[in-house]
Amino acid sequence: MFAAERIKELIEQDLPDCTARVSDDANDGEHFSAEVVSSAFEGVMRVQQHRMVYQALGQHMYKDIHALALRTFTPDQWPY
């Protein structure tokens, strides 16, 4: 069981100027979705943006998190 709040913390700690909105969609502690904004994404290809988020989560991405539906944004693209 992993908490959406913990995922949010890990991502926001690792990436600069970052806000992450994370939800535990199925309420099962395994299937999450996240929307992440960071200035570090500027000028970076989306594949690499997603890798950066995965790297922030480290081994949790391989062990505790079964699925993380991910959308990444630069500050200019952030819809909120």
């Binding site: 997603h50 995965y54 391989y62």
Partner: protein
């Protein structure tokens, strides 16, 4: 490079469009793999696939190969393009269709 890494390299480089997935295109065994197959079918793209549930070495090997922790994984001309989220984004923006245009040229 290990045998598994070489095997993966050969798979993705010998087919223009290659999908690592859970299950088969006819019987995907995960919602994300199902979404990936649906997108490729919708674009009418012929592709080769590999069922990672049949081979644990490949299943963990592709995570290392692409530095990407999840499955499915799509490769176009040997280059890792993304998982199901990026495929959906790129499908909706028309980018994926563009990347696959070489099929007809």
């Amino acid at each position: 490079m290990s045998d598994t890494q070489n095997q993966i390299k050969e798979m993705v480089e010998t087919s223009p469009v290659f999908l690592f997935m859970k299950g088969t295109p006819d019987f995907p065994q995960c919602g994300f793999s199902n979404q990936a197959v649906s997108i490729l079918n919708h674009l009418n793209v012929p592709f080769q696939s590999f069922n990672v549930l049949d081979n644990m070495d490949i299943r963990s090997g592709i995570k290392e190969y692409a530095q990407w922790p999840t499955i499915p994984q799509l490769y176009i001309k040997g280059t890792f393009v993304g998982g199901s989220d990026l495929m959906m984004e790129m499908y909706q923006s028309g980018e994926l269709d563009k990347l696959l245009q070489f099929e007809e040229s």
